[in-house]
Symmetry: C2
Subunit: 751 residues, 2 copies
């Protein structure tokens, strides 16, 4: 049995990590000051920016108020659920750290978004007054704040828990990870619905019906559209990566403790600390230089610099922290090599996914060019070619991720699951840079929107902002791919932790029999797991359709009741649309949210811990593919539209352009709502499984087994999910619907 | 150990089944004579019908020539592959029965299609001369031929093998099932590409570019479109259900022998025999009566009559054939109850799937009405609402199928896998009626096409044919749902047989460890399994896009070089388009076909028999959902278009109509190419796994283990698949492409 108590040297290392995490927050603060010190542009630009700030702030505050109630409920449930190790003190600490995780996740989203809604107008102003390089620098630094807070708070929570709770830290951190994941999922889903309801609604009623261009101030949905970029792409993505970060660390700590005791817990913390340092270097290396061939060059420089720095330092850490020998069965290499190679696999995977996503979504490459060309025969062929591209590209991404897991398995031997978790840590050493790259997208997108709406930017300034926006589109697509890989490795590592949890709860029995695929109930578990991914995606897409429908009605109504809008003599009521998006996205996120939390409860208590394991595997396998499919189809359609807008096949206004606009609109909820929300879905479901595992085992086997209670819990969970789905179906306004017709509920007819 | 030799009573029962199978063929022959005896209509109608007959015949002959080479290669490979039981004689018998299975599958497709291309014109003629009821009767009887040959040949092969080979029959029948499945997959994929290339191409160039209606004789692609209905919906579907039938029977025999010896093998044969009798009764009960409320009424009467007849006879059979007690561990009921309840589960599942599919795809129900309404805001919202509908409906279907498997698991106890196979047999007792219902679709579709092209039908006749076509559309959608359920149960049962095969090859070792989800390599296997479903779907959809592109070029070229076509003074060259579709679909089916056969080989030999099991489960879980998603989205779009054409939201020619036409075109390759092809994909992959299992085990463990040979085989298989994918990517004509540009291969850029 490895030694589980932290040695004196371990305490020094973890304390150092804690200090590094605080340093990251200080660095973030210095970036905030640098960004806020720059010029805010003209009065009109400030006005527009203020409207976006207010809308975004109002949305998040309202969301947090709603979620606070939910958080308290979960807090109480966590006090009731048994823990695998430790007593009431550990239970309480886990519940408290759940709140801390939720709070941190919310803070990452809130701070990142608040700065993004202040950085955007400054980017626009700098484009006018200073040109490309200052403008780029402000946008990237705004992203950098988000990135540093993400990694800073994640590392802070994990190292603090390890110092405070020593060997029970993994259990306490389950709460931390779950809090982060739950908040992130709601922010991803809610923000995703908000942003695309506003975007799709604005496009349908503006471009299609009224014939006015994008970001036209006469369209009442434009401010909501800009707000959406921030609450979706910025707050949602940052919270998502924060939780991947926290979740992966937690999984690595749990599995590290199992195989290598305290050393196994300290190593991932050290790797994360290295990641923070590497991210700072990466962000500083991303300043645009004179010799850069394109806008992507400094961003790639930042990413690869941070990857190389991590790599070098991880080698040192592996040979310092990890033991040279260990009694892990079937281990093919010593723990030091295992640690180093696993982290290396993760870093390489990040780079590979970056290349792959780029190939499938960049305008200059064959896949997107093929879609663009298919616009000559109309929208149907654009949609079909985008879907087949997405399906195929998902396969290559899944094979890369599967290859990484298999590589970790080969190198890990008996400690394979720890190796998988370490590969996840490796993938996340560049997390700070990745979040910065991603936030760069909505900030420059917003900057262009504000410039367009204000009309205060000259041609040179506008060109700078168009260039920045194009770079931002590519970084958004790339970081989406990496975020998915992160989520899958985190989920796979968590799945390993679930196995350990069940094993411990069963009293170190061999799990093989109950987790075997020879059992038909496990095959059913896998089918249900895959089904939940499909249902979740379908619900997210239809939620966007419904909410967009209400936006269309509102804007139409404003055009009708305020005839002065079209000749600029009357101002549209922007806040009414923001309000609709806010209310609707908060209402619509309930069903997918409940599904994610309760489906594993229903399967675990209803069918048992074996089918629950198969359920998780089914969800991971299908979720990986579905997430990449949705993200890459959407990204490719977006760029195919840009390609036609840049003048190919007839340019703007041609039939080919109309066809690609349809493709892009289909892709909107794919790439920005359903696709990214699958990441937190996978992690939330694995965490729920991890948390309920001891209770499921207790009720299933041994002297406390109680089939009635077990099935009652499962039935209650299933009924709530079914009820939520029925309620969401009853909201029957579909885009284009002229009136609500009495809902014909699914259950009454389909069964 | 149960007794594996057939008793005297068993021989009598199996011989009776053999006689019943021959009776089914005789009944089919009587239906053929009845259909061919009816009037063939006017000369123009005969001419058009002849062109369709020739095109369809030419396609199938060419396909069979190509596949004959492939069949010989597989025949030789089967001689090399070790068998789990028996010696060289069994190997040879298995290989010979592979050829028999392939031949039967081809015969079912060929005969069914040949009659369909003769029935169609007679249906059109009867609509003109006799009205609705005679016309309906001819269409349904044409389908009945197909149905009776399907069940007749399936039962004939299985019972013959059981009589000839007694206890080694299951091994021999692996060959029979594989032959049927392989041919069916190629016919499904090839026919699916043919039919949708012609349909999409005809629509794009006719409706969209030239502005002429569907089935207009000036469109050079119309004959190909009609040929496509026959080679896809008719030949493909019949072969698919034939192989489901054969595969399910084989799996039930294998598993029945394991648990109950000879009795366990005889019972499924008897159930199949009952199914044949029930199908005859069902077909005879489907005559339209005076009191029928709709065209669907007689069809539903046939289905439910046959279900009830089966149910009653199966009760008798269970208590006669199966033993009253058995020494199966954990068995909760006696074998008789197990047999009866399992079959009942299958029959109930068929009815439930029928209702569910109807709910999601019928014009009168809320889901399709919602899609229709979304056409008011354009094509993007039509596509989005169809996709979310498809995703959600797939979940309910998967839960029904999963529920059936779980029910069989609960009732089966230690013999759970046998119960799953028997549920599959139950589902297939109505197979004869299901194939009849399905073939009804293309026959009435074709009848309408021939009538329209000939111009020889008056208004009353045309209305009859429109009504028949609408009924056919619904039956096609419903049978697709049942075909998927059939395929999943067959695949699940085969998966059980794979487990037994591995267990036997390992020498009755407990499989739990190597099949456990605790092993990360098994998780990777599941991811790859899910990925293959995505890749296969993507390849099928892009194959249709490419082939449709060539059709568009050809028809455009004909309009250009033969200016007389538009004013009817010149005849288009129909055969040129048929030729393009034939060549392209045969070329395009190679990549998905190789993927299906070789991916399990690569995974099995490369990663081992545990990951191969997880691979199969991943493929089954994802495949179930993907198949239903694609089928139901496509079906719903099709009917949403019809709803608008019937006058809602502006009717034909409105913008809403244009939006639904785009949705329908997107749905074409979903519902008729990629979706249905997933059925044989799942079964082929499971059969390949079953066939290679002994070889994989031999090379992996024990004294003959040879890692080098094992990995070489895997590498060769993987390389062939990668090569095939690259070759298909190089065929870079995308619909709408003005010229071929040099292909930028995936591998050179993505890695």
């Amino acid at each position: 049995m490895p030694d589980n108590d932290l040695s004196g040297g371990d305490v020094v290392l973890v304390t150092a990590a804690l200090v590094v995490s605080l340093a990251a927050l200080v660095f973030a603060w210095s970036l905030v000051r640098a960004v806020l010190a720059t010029d805010q542009g003209t009065t009109r630009m400030r006005d527009i920016a203020r409207a976006v700030q207010e809308g975004a702030g109002a949305y998040l505050r309202r969301q947090f108020r709603t979620l606070a109630v939910f958080a308290v409920v979960v807090f109480l449930l966590l006090l009731v659920l048994p823990v695998s190790e430790g007593g009431w003190g550990t239970r309480l600490a886990r519940a408290v750290f759940f709140l801390v995780g939720a709070l941190f996740s919310a803070a990452v989203g809130f701070i990142g978004m608040t700065l993004a809604t202040r950085g955007n107008v400054r980017v626009a102003a700098a484009a006018q007054s200073g040109g490309y390089r200052p403008s780029f620098r402000i946008a990237y630094r705004t992203g950098g704040v988000c990135g540093m807070i993400t990694v800073g708070l994640g590392l802070f929570g994990a190292s603090l828990a390890l110092l405070l709770f020593d060997e029970t830290a993994p259990v306490v951190l389950e709460g931390f990870a779950f809090g982060g994941a739950l908040l992130a999922m709601f922010m991803r889903v809610g923000g995703g619905i908000f942003t695309k309801a506003a975007d799709v609604g604005a496009d349908l009623v503006g471009k299609v019906e009224a014939g006015i261009p994008e970001d036209d101030p006469r369209n009442a949905a434009t401010i909501a559209d800009n707000v959406g970029d921030n609450v979706g792409d910025c707050a949602g993505m940052a919270a998502d990566l924060f939780e991947s970060y926290a979740v992966t660390l937690v999984a690595a700590l749990i599995l590290g403790q199992v195989f290598f005791g305290a050393d196994g817990m300290v190593f991932p913390i050290v790797v994360a600390g290295i990641g923070v340092l590497a991210s700072v270097v990466g962000i500083l290396a991303s300043n645009p230089g004179k010799n850069d061939s394109s806008g992507l060059a400094p961003i790639n420089r930042g990413f690869f610099t941070s990857a190389v720095v991590s790599l070098v330092l991880v080698v040192v850490a592996a040979f310092t922290v990890l033991p040279g020998v260990a009694d892990v069965p079937d281990s093919v290499v010593n723990p030091q090599v295992l640690g180093f190679v696993s982290v290396l696999i993760g870093i390489v995977l990040a780079a590979a996914i970056q290349q792959l996503t780029g190939y499938f979504t960049e305008t200059s490459r064959k896949p997107v060019r093929d879609i663009g060309r298919s616009s000559l025969t109309g929208a149907a062929t654009v949609v079909l070619s985008g879907i087949s591209l997405g399906l195929e590209s998902a396969v290559y991404a899944a094979l890369l991720i599967g290859g990484a897991v298999y590589g970790a398995f080969l190198v890990g031997g008996g400690a394979a699951l720890y190796a998988v978790a370490l590969a996840g840590c490796g993938l996340l050493t560049t997390a700070g840079v990745i979040v910065s790259m991603d936030t760069f997208g909505p900030v420059s997108d917003n900057a262009q929107g504000i410039a367009e709406m204000s009309g205060d930017i000259d041609e040179d300034g506008a060109r700078v902002l168009t260039d920045l926006d194009a770079v931002g589109n590519t970084t958004k697509a790339i970081t989406k791919g990496i975020a998915i890989a992160t989520a899958v490795l985190a989920a796979a590592a968590l799945f390993g932790s679930y196995n350990e949890q069940v094993r411990t709860a069963l009293g170190d029995v061999d799990l093989a029999q109950s987790f075997s695929l020879v059992e038909p109930d496990n095959v059913v578990g896998a089918i249900i797991g895959a089904a939940v991914v499909f249902l979740f995606s379908g619900l997210a897409i239809s939620a966007v359709s419904r909410a967009a429908g209400r936006v269309v009605f509102e804007v139409r109504e404003q055009f009708r009741t305020r005839p002065g809008i079209m000749d600029y003599s009357e101002r549209p009521d922007y806040s009414a649309v923001v309000d609709i998006c806010t209310k609707d996205s908060l209402r619509e996120l309930a069903t997918p949210g409940l599904l994610a939390v309760l489906a594993p409860v229903a399967v675990g208590f209803g069918l048992g811990f074996g089918p629950l394991a198969a359920y998780l595997v089914g969800a991971i396998a299908t979720g990986t593919l579905m997430a990449v499919f949705l993200a890459n189809s959407g990204g490719a359609w977006d760029n195919a539209k840009k390609m036609v807008e840049d003048g190919e096949y007839g340019g703007k206004g041609s039939e080919a352009h109309a066809a690609t606009v349809i493709g892009d609109t289909v892709g909107d909820p794919f790439k920005d709502t359903a696709g990214p929300a699958i990441n937190p879905l996978l992690k939330v479901m694995n965490l729920v499984a991890l948390l309920i595992a001891p209770a499921v085992v207790t009720l299933s086997v041994g002297e406390d087994a109680n089939t009635t209670v077990r099935l009652l819990i499962a039935a209650a969970a299933a009924l709530v999910v079914i009820g939520a789905v029925i309620v969401s179906k009853r909201r029957s306004v579909v885009v284009g619907g002229a009136s609500e017709e009495p809902a014909d509920t699914l259950t009454s007819s389909a069964t």
